[in-house]
Amino acid sequence: MIQPIQPAEIQRRLDSLKDQDVYIHLEMTTGAYAAHMDASKHPAATFITNAVIQYSHGSISGNGPFRVGLKMNHGWVYSEGLTHYVESEPERLILAGHDQQGKLVVSLQLSREPF
């Protein structure tokens, strides 16, 4: 079930996944057709999937759309624009940001098993 983000629940899941190896999927896209629809738009997309990270502090902030930051040994994971999460998967954290048409713009996922 895709639900609007409940920050307290996301914080609980972030805490339960910290200080251990987790697989991350992090993605951002403006859509392959962005420039086709509007020539002033610069199409861009990027993702990294199933990289392994470990973080010591993870938190969610904002009033929606939300931001998440994960502090790692040598750097940070940062994601902004998150609106929804998958409620029915308590073992994993599946976050996404959808625009007004419902299209995915950004996603951040964490899991103990590969995606």
Partner: protein
């Protein structure tokens, strides 16, 4: 008594528009300023026009720009604390407060300047102001220096009222313009200031006053 001012802001260039004239004036009157800049603004999207910075070179470029801006203002003591841009709100609060508290103990400021928590638009600004207010708030009441806050979020005056502190910095517009110009990767000074100089009446009108809110504890 000589004023000792501690400025705590997250990004190089945060000092330029809202504070540089005031600092230049207070320094001219004998103040000693320590400016703790938490990050190097390394996640900024402005990379110069046309771009001359990369994600790899930007932090060092912005460090130089910040040093140049501080020299233009006359700031005697610049500290770059090495936190990462965009992460202040996620930082370990104990670590953040320890850094700020160590600066307060060392500098023993008679005045602290930061962003107004909750009314400063960028999450790093709000989180920096929060950390400063939290740390100063822990000091015994009699030892707390006044905290001047900058605020600029939409409708902020409805929530926090009018600024109670105002500086006429028209005599220090040259310093302020040089501070703005120093941040050349971030601002196109030509577009903001035109080819006018510090005696121009329109610039004096636009940039000649800097306003602050004294933070009210409890």
């Amino acid at each position: 008594m000589e004023q000792r001012i501690l400025v705590v802001l997250p990004h190089p260039d945060d000092e330029a528009f809202g504070l540089s004239g005031t600092l230049a004036q207070l320094i001219d009157q004998g103040a000693y300023v320590t400016y703790a800049c938490l990050t190097l603004g390394e996640m900024a999207r402005n990379m110069g026009t046309p771009p001359f910075a990369s994600r790899v070179t930007l932090p060092q470029i912005r460090r130089k720009e910040l040093e140049e801006s501080c020299a233009a203002i006359g700031i005697q003591d610049l500290r770059m604390l090495g936190f990462h841009d965009k992460t202040i709100e996620f930082e370990d609060k104990v670590l953040l407060d320890e850094h700020i508290n160590a600066l307060i103990e060392e500098v023993r400021p008679t005045l602290v300047v930061t962003f107004y928590p909750g009314y400063s638009v960028h999450p790093d600004h709000d989180a920096t102001g929060e950390a400063v207010v939290r740390t100063v708030g822990r000091l015994p009441k009699a030892e707390r220096p006044p905290v001047y806050c900058m605020a600029f979020s939409r409708n902020h005056e409805q929530a926090i009222g009018k600024p109670d502190i105002s500086f006429d910095v028209r005599n220090y517009l040259k310093n302020k313009m040089d501070s703005i110009k120093a941040h050349r990767s971030q601002f196109q000074a030509g577009e903001i200031l035109g080819d006018k100089d510090h005696t121009d009446t329109e610039l004096l009108e636009r940039f000649g006053t800097e306003r602050f809110w004294t933070y009210k504890f409890d």
